[in-house]
């Protein structure tokens, strides 16, 4: 019997004749999960979409074939390929928030794709499908619009849409990016169960190796449009043989493997423990209360938050999305006005609003944003963006500032000729380095980093974290590091504060919080965070022998 999904020698070019996929081959058996990993631009998504007989605009299949359940999907007219979509093979997209049609109610979104059924059958199937993904099956919920659902619910709805016609194959494209770890763990556990119960073949596209190790049987590693390595997930990731895979595995930051993780070897702090931390507090936040008001309702973002950061110390604030961690950071830099409480720099209170702060106060605290593309002015060259704080906050003359820009770019380890480039010409990693260089330009004492690695590829994340540690060591910088990624936090933080709905749940040295969490919420968070080392030692359950990696 042929495997459920067979991809053979698939080669795809773009309109300019550049090769996007080169001779990609793999197979997936019924009830089997295959992970496709690689960095952005490696062709993961293009590969996944061909399983639906879909090639994005501007691309074309040059050779090779895709067969699903003995049906040919490539080289067929759009109309025939469409018949397979949603019925034979279904797709779960990245970022469900933008993938759900905003004007359509939950129930209609599912009903829409059910064809050849009576109204009663359709209603029954909708109920069944909602139940399958553990979404409430009541009239009230079915009448909701996508924007009224939480991120986790939106993702479950996307899963429900994919499952509605009971397909044989499920293609998931980074299905959990944008979800916080606890929701992510729930969605993935769910997916495992559905795969077992319905015997569907699963293709899981992801850049998260920990997730792939824990939830797939086999893995295909892609690099620049080629499959560089394939095999059983856990054995391959435990002993990667290709150089690229080795680098990828080494770049994984793992909160479970403090000190012993492969990443720890790459991202080394100082040889003996963390950099020297001064005895006096640089920044102190006392009894902070903050909230967001919309339409008369107040949403609490911080309730009685207090912490201290000493010179050279890195405090990480960790929590789920909506926990208030970003608002706390924004209050520190004066972008959000606190309802109550004080922010003290060197013991003297800072004005609540950035516009009221003095030049030196502004200079000493700098902020680096989550999205590097959005935080750099697209109409300004990189050099201009970095020069501005030099000129405004440090009053540096033009010529000197130019030399300083070159030095800063070198400092963050990018070519200094990039100064003449616009942000649009740079990769995500380069943009984030530029943003860091801009943050460093004013030679601050405290750098506030808001989820600075979450928009980046794994390998890029690791190098940015390495850079952060290097800068701390060399410049004696203090950091306020906002993140939901416990792996990243484990690499940089000296102290961790866990927040949930604006309240501090646990506050203590990083090692203690991650290894022996006391608070039940922290326990859940640490438990839910994907960990490669744990996935590799856990149940080496045998993969279904339905197909062997090519």
């Amino acid at each position: 019997m042929n495997p459920l999904v067979e991809v053979e020698g698939l080669t795809i070019e773009d309109h300019a004749g550049r090769t996007i996929l080169h001779e990609v081959s793999f197979s997936v058996g019924a009830g089997e999960a295959v992970g496709v990993v690689g960095e952005s631009g490696s062709g993961k998504t293009t590969t996944a979409l061909t399983l639906l007989g879909w090639v994005r605009h501007g691309l074309r299949v040059v050779s090779g074939r895709v067969r699903v359940a003995d049906a040919e999907l490539t080289g067929r007219p759009e109309k025939e390929a469409r018949a397979a979509r949603g019925r034979l093979v279904a797709y779960v997209p990245q970022s469900p928030a933008s993938a759900l049609s905003p004007l359509m109610r939950v129930g209609d979104q599912i009903t829409e794709i059910l064809t050849g059924m009576t109204a009663a059958e359709r209603a029954a199937r909708v109920a069944e499908t909602l139940d399958l993904v553990e979404l409430p099956d009541d009239e009230d919920f079915r009448r909701k619009f996508p924007h009224q659902l939480s991120g986790g619910q939106q993702q479950r709805l996307c899963l429900a849409l994919a499952l509605a016609n009971r397909p044989k194959v499920l293609v998931l494209d980074e299905p959990t990016t944008g979800l916080d770890v606890i929701t992510q763990a729930a969605v993935l556990a769910h997916l495992d169960r559905i795969r077992r119960d319905l015997k569907v073949g699963v293709i899981l596209v992801s850049h998260d190796l920990a997730l792939v190790a824990a939830h797939t049987d086999r893995v295909v590693v892609m690099y620049q449009g080629r499959v560089v390595e394939a095999g059983f997930s856990r054995s391959l990731l435990a002993r990667p043989s290709h150089e690229y895979t080795r680098g990828l595995v080494a770049a994984v930051v793992d909160h479970r493997a403090l000190g012993g993780s492969p990443a720890r070897a790459v991202i080394s702090a100082a040889p003996d423990g963390p950099p020297a931390i001064g005895p006096v507090s640089l920044l102190a936040v006392k009894d902070l209360h903050a909230s967001h008001r919309t339409k008369g309702r107040a949403i609490v973002a911080a309730e009685g938050i207090s912490f201290e950061i000493r010179a050279g110390e890195c405090l990480a604030i960790v929590g789920q999305s909506g926990s208030g961690k970003t608002t706390i950071a924004r209050t520190v830099v004066g972008l959000h006005r606190a309802d109550h409480g004080a922010v003290l720099l060197d013991g003297s209170p800072l004005p609540p609003s950035a516009t009221a702060r003095g030049r030196d106060e502004l200079r000493r605290i700098q902020y680096i944003f989550q999205d590097p593309f959005a935080s750099l002015n697209p109409r300004r060259t990189v050099g201009d963006s970095i020069r501005r704080p030099l000129r405004v906050l440090r009053g540096m003359p033009e010529r000197e500032a130019r030399a300083e820009v070159a030095r800063l770019l070198e400092r963050v380890r990018i070519r200094k000729d990039i100064a003449a480039a616009y942000p649009g010409e740079l990769s995500g990693g380069e943009c984030q380095r530029v943003a860091i260089a801009r943050g460093l330009a004013s030679s601050p004492d405290l750098l506030v980093c808001d989820e600075i690695t979450s928009a980046l590829d794994v390998s890029v994340q690791a190098s940015v974290l390495e850079l952060i540690n290097e800068l701390r060591r060399d410049l004696d910088l203090a950091l306020l590091f906002i993140s939901h990624d416990l792996g990243a936090v484990s690499v940089v933080a000296d102290t961790i504060m866990v927040v949930e709905r604006g309240r501090c749940r646990e506050y203590g040295p990083a090692g203690e919080v991650l290894r022996t969490p006391q608070d039940p919420y922290t326990c859940r968070l640490v438990e839910a965070a994907p960990s490669l080392s744990e996935a590799l030692v856990a149940s080496t359950r045998p993969a279904d022998g339905a197909g062997v990696a090519k």
Partner: protein, 318 residues
């Protein structure tokens, strides 16, 4: 209840724009050279005393703020004053002509909205393909041509050349233009083409944007036929934002009516406004502009309300 509150607040906001607008209109007439007295007495070779006396009669010898307050307090009592040229009451002039302009405007909007949506959706769903290029070129040309040139071209072709339609839209004062449908064809056609072209280009951009969205890609990946993707996922999502664009083209219609009515000698508010500006008939200009502005504010408020009700995200936030 919340909808009623929203409607009330939006209407209040619209009304609040009228007083500042009245100041602008008054100031604009004030800075025009010459005054109503000169035009009222034109051809009489008036003596200096007669000029001064006429100015006094029209109140032109008082200071501008005084005259403004006088006029504005009249407005609040529904008295728009009298024409400086022939002494007719402004409300009577507006009453006599507003019906004709409403007929013209409503016909144009009834034709323009479906036309703009149809062309916009057609071109937007075919972005970059031949159908899109042809329509984009046509609408670009129509947007670039001033109304009076287009009107003149239509007159030359259909009025003088083919002799199918009257070149001017003159009809007895006591009649409704609907009793003489042929006089409406060319003015309506001119305004519709101009307004629909601009609006369709905006609709096209909105539709093309939605076509590129992730949810349209997902709709296709769900295996829906293209027709259904366009009808259920593209059009509803593109129409919401288009409503405001269409309300904006009501402004184009109102502005265009001044020109088109003048070119065709159509007895509406637009041609009356053009004539009143030439003779510096301040009371009449101010009265007509206030009426037109109110119409535009109503159009925008209606569009805002429709968008808020048609977009679930906005509706649930009300």
């Amino acid at each position: 209840m919340r909808v009623a509150r929203f409607l009330f607040l939006r209407t209040l906001g619209g009304l609040a724009m009228l007083p500042p607008l009245s100041v602008l209109v008054f100031a604009a007439i004030e800075v025009l050279p010459g005054d109503a007295a000169v035009y009222a007495l034109a051809g009489q070779n008036p003596s200096a005393e007669l000029m001064a006396e006429t100015r006094h009669r029209l109140g032109l010898d008082r200071s501008p703020p005084e005259r403004y307050l006088d006029w504005f307090s009249g407005l609040l009592q529904a008295d728009m004053g009298r024409s400086a040229i022939n002494g007719q009451s402004v409300s009577a002039v507006i009453e006599g002509r507003i019906g004709n302009t409403v007929i013209l405007g409503v016909l144009v909007i009834l034709l323009m909205v479906p036309l703009a949506l149809a062309v916009g959706v057609f071109a937007g769903t075919r972005e970059g393909r031949i159908g899109d290029r042809v329509f984009s070129l046509i609408t670009l040309c129509l947007v670039a041509i001033p109304e009076f040139v287009l009107a003149a071209a239509l007159i030359v072709i259909f009025g003088f050349g083919l002799k199918l339609l009257p070149a001017t839209s003159i009809f007895p004062v006591e009649d409704s233009p609907l009793m003489h449908p042929t006089v409406l064809v060319l003015p309506v056609a001119t305004l519709t083409l101009v307004a629909a072209s601009g609006a369709s280009r905006q609709v096209r951009v909105g539709v093309a944007d939605v076509m590129r969205s992730r949810y349209v890609e997902l709709a296709r990946l769900k295996g829906l036929p293209e027709r259904r993707v366009v009808l259920r996922h593209v059009i509803p999502n593109a129409v919401g934002p288009s409503l405001q664009v269409l309300a904006g083209s009501v402004g184009v219609v109102i502005g265009g009516s001044v020109i088109v009515e003048t070119v065709f000698s159509y007895p509406g508010l637009g041609s009356a406004l053009a004539a009143a500006v030439t003779t510096r008939d301040f009371a009449l200009v101010e009265g007509i502009v206030m009426v037109l502005a109110a119409a535009l504010i109503i159009a925008y408020t209606a569009a805002d309300l429709a968008v808020s009700l048609l977009t679930p995200k906005l509706r649930t936030a009300l």
